[in-house]
């Protein structure tokens, strides 16, 4: 599926996109969304668009192992705008088993050629877990084990992206008892930096953002300890969930189909793993349909991105909250209650002052009167005495 580099600059890309029904406006819109998703500033949108049009497209080799192809499918299912189209135009997708027209020896030849031609520069995307038990016998392609393939292709890759939970940490095939020893790519490719995009499936916009940044600036976005881009996986579902207000107010679905469920209340009690699941599904929905994500359609999140949650925890068991962030509407330990009225204090002061003042004045008056009386009596006695 080789494509030639565009000749004639942006117009050529735009012309191609338009031919597929993607208007210039939609193209810029997608660039803006992707830039925002990655946390790039507004000025970069122009650069992204330019890079998308002009820059030499990086070569991408996309390997499939123990996967259901859902990751690829979620990418291909986007159509408004055609994210798939965009990605496929941004990169030179040299090897992709699902989309490859060729097969067999010809397909293998494509892989070898791509690796040789772009050694040290191509982006390796891994979809699917890698089985390690039995010397990796549970997944072999062209006679080579997945472990072997992954290692050899990764050896000369410029960047490695593990797409989907299976490639990130093992996913469904790694569920107990994990008979094949399904493992995520980072564990197999020890020592290498692997950008993981867990999710089952992952949100195609996350891939888009990563690819856009790499294509435009040649760098990968900031990653967390598990290799997940922070722009998508730094926060839990719970932190940005649209039903968070119901959680905060204590309004929960008790049973599927009950009144509270119809009212769209929080799904925590039905086992939502949102509080422990890092992903941006609550902000970026799937299939460009607003509300097309698990909680949006009324089912609790099952933690598909988290190794500890997805296919591990019972679907309907409740979980603790990671990094609780209570909003301000919680009652404090000591609430501030109504204060005193300044007017009342003033009035009381006036009354008390007046009473005290009157009393003191009266005392003085009595004192003076007594003194006068004393003097009068003294002068009387004096007179009598004389």
């Amino acid at each position: 599926m080789e494509k030639e580099n565009p000749v004639g600059g942006s117009n050529a890309l735009l012309a191609r996109l338009e031919a597929r029904g993607v208007s210039r406006r939609e193209f810029l819109r997608v660039c803006t969304i992707a830039a925002a998703a990655v946390g790039l500033p507004a000025w970069s949108v122009g650069k992204i668009a330019e890079a998308a049009a002009l820059a030499p497209r990086p070569s991408v080799i996309w390997l499939h192992f123990q996967e259901c192809t859902g990751c690829t499918e979620s990418l291909l299912r986007t159509s408004h705008p055609a994210v798939a189209e965009l990605i496929l135009d941004l990169v030179s997708l040299d090897y992709h088993e699902t989309l490859l027209a060729a097969s067999g020896e010809q397909a293998e030849a494509v892989l070898h050629d791509a690796m040789a031609k772009n050694a040290g520069k191509y982006v390796l995307v891994i979809e699917g877990a890698i089985p390690v038990k039995g010397n990796g016998a549970y997944c072999t392609i062209a006679g080579r084990t997945a472990v072997d393939l992954a290692n050899s292709v990764a050896a000369k890759a410029g960047a490695i992206i593990a797409i989907g939970s299976c490639a990130s940490w093992g996913g469904v095939p790694s569920a107990d008892p994990n008979p094949t020893g399904a493992t995520g790519a980072p564990e197999v490719l020890k020592g290498k930096t692997v950008l993981t995009l867990p999710g089952c499936p992952p949100n195609p916009y996350n891939l888009l953002g990563t690819v856009l940044q790499y294509a435009t600036f040649g760098t990968l976005p900031a990653l967390d300890a598990l290799g997940r881009p922070k722009f998508a996986y730094a926060r839990t579902i719970h932190e940005d969930c649209p039903r968070r207000a119901h959680f905060d107010a204590g309004r929960f679905v008790e049973r599927f189909g009950d009144e509270n469920h119809r009212l769209g209340y929080c799904l925590y009690k039905t086992g939502c793993k949102g509080p422990k699941t890092h992903a941006n599904c609550s902000q970026q929905h799937f299939a460009e349909v607003v509300g097309a994500w698990p909680i949006g359609i009324g089912h609790p999140c099952f933690g598909c991105t988290e190794k500890s949650m997805g296919f591990r925890e019972a679907l309907y068991a409740t979980v603790e909250i990671d990094r609780p962030t209570p909003p301000d509407t919680y009652a404090p330990i000591h609430a501030q209650h109504r204060g005193v009225s300044v007017a009342a204090v003033g009035a009381a002061g006036l009354v008390a002052g007046a009473l005290a003042g009157a009393g003191v004045m009266n005392a003085k008056k009595l004192s003076d009167a007594a003194k006068k009386e004393g003097e009068r009596k003294a002068s009387e006695t004096k007179q009598e005495g004389q």
Partner: protein, 297 residues
């Protein structure tokens, strides 16, 4: 019988000294420390399990037919800032830097409740299972219970001409139907549990023993203020004072006041004696006066 000033002064000082030293002695012969009834029930709130979801607050309002109380955001939330005339149970947030803990505040159902000791005609009294019950038919609305309670639990309906005292009664109307208190039923994490006081105390001790690093090393309410039937566990490093639970010591307030009261008034002996003594004195004074002198007064 005339009393000289000096004698008066001497007598009064003597009486004062006796009183100053006598009263503590009287208190020392205090009444016995009360214990919870054998079928006492209680609640255990484990702050480390609470996620602050407030389901218990919502359920409490529903179970007790209480109206919502808009907090600072009027008309938008039912967000009471504290217990009140329309809120019997509130989740409070303790936040200091990165440390967070929730705190469920409601009536502590003390073993020796100050409110019940204070209440003139027992509108507040310790009832079945040791629950501190409120009977509005006997309440005159004097609010002495609010003064007495060390936890400031009883609240009053200030904005109605027909007010009541409002406080948690452990959903005794639900207990009568064999259900648990509303807050306990609503909690998704079993942060608050209900049961026989003996059992939940044992449960609390077990938690402390199994995970000592998780908890602050004390069960609040085991002996505090004479013991309460609502027990608290706090997270390690968060002492109970930070959650608003006062350091009360082991002695319940009614012990001091009732000892004092009974020292003076037990069996009405002292008032009767005083009455008799006064009567004798006054009678003799009056007899000493010439007859008809009264008219001149």
């Amino acid at each position: 019988m005339t009393v000289t000033r000096r004698a008066l002064l001497k007598g009064v000082v003597a009486a004062g000294t006796v009183a100053t030293f006598g009263l503590p002695v009287a208190s020392a012969t205090a009444r016995e420390r009360k214990t919870p009834p054998s079928n006492a029930v209680g609640m255990l709130y484990d702050a480390t399990r609470c996620i602050g979801c407030k389901a218990c607050m919502v359920k409490c309002k529903e179970a007790n037919g209480l109206p919502p109380e808009p907090g600072p955001m009027k008309g938008v939330y039912d967000a009471p800032a504290d217990l009140s005339g329309s809120t019997k149970n509130v989740i409070k947030l303790y936040k200091e830097g990165d440390r967070i803990s929730y705190m469920k505040a409601q009536c502590m159902h003390c073993v020796d409740p100050a409110c019940a000791s204070a209440c003139m005609i027992s509108a507040l009294h310790k009832g079945q299972y040791g629950i501190v019950e409120y009977d509005p038919a006997m309440c005159v609305g004097c609010r002495y219970c609010e003064i007495a309670c060390p936890f400031n639990v009883p609240k009053y309906e200030w904005y109605t001409p027909f007010p009541k005292i409002v406080k948690c009664e452990m959903c005794r109307h639900r207990l009568a139907e064999g259900k648990v208190p509303g807050c306990v039923e609503a909690c998704p994490r079993e942060a608050v549990i209900f049961g026989k006081l003996k059992d939940i105390l044992g449960d609390a001790k077990g938690r402390l023993a199994r995970e000592p690093r998780r908890y602050y090393p004390k069960i609040y309410g085991e002996t505090d203020g004479g013991g309460t039937q609502v027990l608290y566990l706090s997270a390690a490093g968060i002492p109970f004072e930070k959650l608003g639970l006062p350091a009360l010591g082991d002695k319940p307030a009614p012990e001091l006041t009732e000892s004092l009261q009974h020292a003076i008034y037990q069996g009405f002996v002292a008032p009767f004696v005083l009455f008799s003594v006064l009567g004798v004195v006054i009678y003799r004074n009056r007899s000493a006066q010439p007859p008809g002198e009264e008219e001149k007064r």
